[in-house]
Chain length 310, copies 2
Amino acid sequence: MSVLVVGSVAFDTIRTPFGVATEVVGGSANYFSVAASFFTDVRLVAVVGEDFPDQHLEFLRSRGVDLRGLQRVPGKTFRWVGEYGFDFNEAKTLDTQLNVFADFAPKIPEDYRESEVVFLANIDPDLQRDVLRQVRRPALVAADTMNYWIARKPEALRQTLTMVDALIINDAETRQLANEQSLVRAARTIQAWGPRILIIKRGEYGALLCVDDEWFSAPALPLESVQDPTGAGDCFAGGAVGYLTSRMRFDAGHLRQAMIMGSVMASFNVEAFSLDRLRTLTRAEIEARFTAFRRLVHFDDLAERSGDSR
Amino acid sequence: MSVLVVGSVAFDTIRTPFGVATEVVGGSANYFSVAASFFTDVRLVAVVGEDFPDQHLEFLRSRGVDLRGLQRVPGKTFRWVGEYGFDFNEAKTLDTQLNVFADFAPKIPEDYRESEVVFLANIDPDLQRDVLRQVRRPALVAADTMNYWIARKPEALRQTLTMVDALIINDAETRQLANEQSLVRAARTIQAWGPRILIIKRGEYGALLCVDDEWFSAPALPLESVQDPTGAGDCFAGGAVGYLTSRMRFDAGHLRQAMIMGSVMASFNVEAFSLDRLRTLTRAEIEARFTAFRRLVHFDDLAERSGDSR
């Protein structure tokens, strides 16, 4: 089974209170691809400039990521400069240079059109629809978006949502999109526009799943040291959607497991700058951390611990 | 078994985007007592003025709260005026009138000195130690505090912490108290000062427990409508500490259940202004919501849902 991802591959420069990383590889589709590659075949559609290092492309290939959809064009690769204060839940964008990404028109290779699952990373909702017009009946379409598109292209985004099964956004964006403070009511509003599945990311607080009218809360693992939260959301999506693609079951039970697998991948990714932690990650480490998440939320039913009560 | 609580009983005036409540009954010890009364006997030490309504005292008595430690003195009851914006995680204090609370010197009735469990609500850490000097070897001492005391009386607070088993504070206060961004490292620092058990409240995001070096994450229930978050933290403490008092077991397994019982009581309390939701609450509703929390965090082990993986 294969997941097709369309989004950005970029150079990031990141400042945190604990260090600086200059022009390291990043981008939503890049993070997604590496995280998802631990679970399934990944097909990447993105664009880079002539300055993008072969070394990273070789790393992606070594992870089984199919790069036939990665365009390399004259010019410079997309660059983002961001800063985090002590609150790692929100990045402050200091500079964005779209470069070759400014003219990105996703072209889906013929061999990719039968992909069972599609993930539309955070790009222009018009481009997201362009992608969906080029594929044939995927079993699951998942999409990300952001406050920028919610504010600037609400109608285009609404059109895209009619074609999306699972929307993966953060809690502030959920409220902004639905214009509703209550997440429960916001979820109902957004679901009425199309996505049966809503996944709400909450940074260090974990994530919520709403499927039909059933809710699931995924915790975040308390970590001794967070180096760099960049890409956590895309690694979450990669883990979750990659896991679902490996199972090809989209019921609430599998979605709950996928939420945890997304949380597992995000929890690893924030332990180092860029994608560095994922470079050495093993399947055994992933499974051990999945088990750690089970332990983190476990509590006994009331009947299981006896004692008097009124 | 009995829990002794020492703290404030007050009149609150609360403004939210959805309504205003004027001079409704509140106060940390008041919220705590009502929540804990669903699980165990409660002994309340606090002070009110002549203006405090008998009707509310009768309600407390009807819930089995022992009021022999409640002083009624000449003057006006403590008043707090607060406001919430759309972010219900933080109240903005508009006015505080300490009134009779300014001279509060907790005097523990002789009959209360053998209380098995003590909860020190958010009062001056010097008063918290005064209380502990008046009681005889409780099995568990739990305490709350706030940024005001962390900033103004750090040494007094540190002395109090040497006598506390369980500290219940919010995440910003945890970081402030330990002067440490990482909650994992902050917990270790605070535990080294005394409390074996650290409970970190995170508002709409739930709560974390750290006992020795074991972590537990309690979710918050996604609610259709939150009317008034005032007292949620004290209802959480009342549910958690009240439950522990009913069991008189303080191992990690019972603490995990107590975290959920605290979350259950907080989730009910925010559904109405003041203590109104707790007035009609039943044991059956509490147990049903405990079960809803189990469902909210449940996910299967990887082995339980088959499929290929790499």
